[in-house]
Amino acid sequence: MKGVVYQCFLASAVGGLLSLDRTAAFQVMLSRPLVASPVIGYILGDAMTGLLIGGVLELLFIGELPIGGYIPPHETMLTVVITAVSLIGQKALGVIDIAVFPNWYLVGFGSADIFFILGFAILIVIPMDIICRKADAAARVFNVRLFNAALAGLDKGFIKAVGTNNLKGLGVFFALNLLTIFVLTFSGVLLVYILLPLLPRVVVMSLPFAVGAACATGLSSAYSALYGSRSLTVFLAATFFAVTLLAMVIR
C-alpha cells in the first residue's frame, strides 16, 4: 500500500508540474498527452505503454481549443490520471488471465493485461474531467486576489509585487493540480484494485473494447478538428495512396 501511495504521489507531482505548461507557464506543449503520458510511463517503469496511451489521448483531445475564457477538458490531468491508474493498477492487480483475442498481445505495445486495465481506467477517469475543470476554474477565481495584491503593492511603490504575485499564480495552479491528480489517481487505483476483480467475466472481457472506442474516437476527433472544404478528398486520397504504397514497398 505504501508503494502505491508513493507512486501515486510521484505521478501527481510530475503531473502537477507538467500541467503548469498547459496555461500557466511556457506552453511549449510538454503538457500534451503525447509528451505527458510517456513521461509518467517512464517514471512508473513503462514508457512504451505511456506512449500508447499518450498517442490515443493526443488525438482524442486534438480539437479542444482554450479560446477566451472557455475551459476545455483538462487533457493533461486526464492523461496523467489514466496513465498512472493503468500502470499502478496493473502492478497492484497482477496478471489477468482472460483472453479476448488470442493474439491481442501481439499488437506490440505491452502485455495483454494493460488493455483490460487501460479500458477500465478510460471508462472511469473520463467522467472525472468535471472535477479537473472545477479545480482549474478554482485557481482562476483565486488568482484575482493576486492581481489585487500586485496592484496594492504598486500603490506602495513596490514594483517587484507585480512579478512576485504573477509567479505566485504558478504555485496556486501547481498546488491545485497536484492535489486533484493525487486524489483522482489514488481513487482510480483503489477502484481498479477493489472493483475490477469483482466484475463479471463478461464485463472484464469487454474492457479492451473501450481502448478501441477511444482509438476510433481519437481518429474522428482529429479529422473533425481539421475538417474543411477539401478534407474528405485529401483524407481518403492520402489514406488509400499510403496503404497501396506501403503494401507495395514494405517487405
Partner: protein, 273 residues
C-alpha cells in the same frame, strides 16, 4: 532605448503571461509582469515606474504567443510616452484594439492548425520510431511557437504600431488553412501506418507475408483494403457526430456500448447452447 538584455528578460517573462490568469482580469497581471523589466529600465524613479506599470494593470487577453508583438510595440510606445511624443492613452487603445483580432488569429493559427499538424506528425512518428514521436511533436510545434515569441517581440519593438501591418503581411489565417489541409493528408497517412502496424502483428488473422503478393489481390491485400475502408468510413461518420457537438467522452461510451452488449448476448447464447 532599452538594452538587449532587458528585451531578453521581457522575452523570458512572456512565457509566464498566463501564470496568474484570472476570470476577471485574464492576462492583465501577466502582461504587466512581462513588460516590467522594460519599464524598470526606462524609469529610474520608482514612482514613475509604478505609474507606468499601473497603466498595464487592467483587463487584457489575447493569444499568449501573439502577445509578444504587442509587448514589443508597447515597449516602443512607452518610450515615446516617456519622451513626450505620445499620449499614454494611445497605449491602452492600441492594446484594446488588438485583443480580439490577435486572439482570433492566434487561436486559428496555433491552436487550430500548428498544434494539430504537430500532433498528427508526432503520433505518426511514434508509430514509426516509438519514443522519438513526442520529440518530433515538440520540435515541430515549437519552431512556430518560439519564432512568434522571439521575432514577434523584436519586430514589435522595432516597428511599434506598424507591427500590425507586419503581422498582416504574414497571412497567418491563409497559412493556417494550408497547414490544416496538409495535416488532413498526414492523418490519412497515419491511418495507413496504423493499419500496417496492426497487420504486421497478425492481429487480423492475416500473416504479414500474405501482403507481399500485392498487387495480385491476395486475401491479405483485400482484407487490408477492406479494414482500411471500414476505419476511414467510421472515422468520417463519427466526426459528423463530433462536429454536431457530441463530446469525445460520450462518443467513447456510445462506441463501447454496442461491443459490451454484443459480448453479453454472446455470453448468454453460449450458456444456453
Amino acid at each position: 532605448m532599452i538594452g538587449r538584455f532587458t528585451i531578453f528578460k521581457v522575452f523570458l517573462n512572456s512565457f509566464f503571461i498566463q501564470s496568474a490568469w484570472s476570470f476577471e482580469k485574464m492576462q492583465g497581471l501577466g502582461f504587466a509582469s512581462a513588460i516590467a523589466p522594460a519599464i524598470k529600465d526606462m524609469y529610474k524613479d520608482r514612482d514613475q515606474a509604478s505609474a507606468a506599470l499601473k497603466r498595464h494593470m487592467v483587463f487584457y487577453n489575447a493569444h499568449p504567443y501573439m502577445a509578444s508583438p504587442i509587448l514589443g510595440a508597447v515597449i516602443g510606445m512607452e518610450e515615446d510616452v516617456k519622451d513626450g511624443k505620445l499620449d499614454a492613452g494611445n497605449i491602452t487603445s492600441f492594446k484594446e484594439s488588438l485583443i480580439g483580432p490577435y486572439g482570433a488569429i492566434g487561436d486559428t493559427f496555433f491552436w487550430g492548425s500548428v498544434r494539430p499538424i504537430a500532433s498528427v506528425l508526432g503520433v505518426l512518428s511514434a508509430l514509426i520510431w516509438g519514443l522519438w514521436g513526442p520529440l518530433v511533436f515538440l520540435v515541430v510545434y515549437n519552431l512556430f511557437h518560439i519564432w512568434m515569441r522571439w521575432f514577434g517581440l523584436h519586430k514589435g519593438y522595432k516597428l511599434g504600431e506598424d507591427v500590425v501591418e507586419y503581422i498582416k503581411t504574414l497571412g497567418l489565417p491563409e497559412q493556417a488553412l494550408r497547414i490544416r489541409i496538409i495535416a488532413t493528408g498526414l492523418l490519412g497517412i497515419m491511418v495507413a501506418a496504423l493499419m500496417f502496424k496492426l497487420f504486421k502483428t497478425g492481429m487480423f488473422g492475416i500473416q504479414p507475408n500474405e501482403l507481399l503478393s500485392f498487387p495480385s489481390w491476395s486475401l491479405g491485400t483485400r482484407v487490408l483494403f477492406l479494414i482500411t475502408g471500414f476505419i476511414t468510413t467510421a472515422t468520417i461518420l463519427l466526426s459528423i457526430l463530433l462536429r454536431k457537438g457530441t463530446s469525445v467522452s460520450l462518443a467513447i461510451y456510445l462506441l463501447f456500448l454496442p461491443a459490451f452488449v454484443f459480448l453479453i448476448i454472446m455470453n448468454m447464447l453460449q450458456r444456453v447452447g
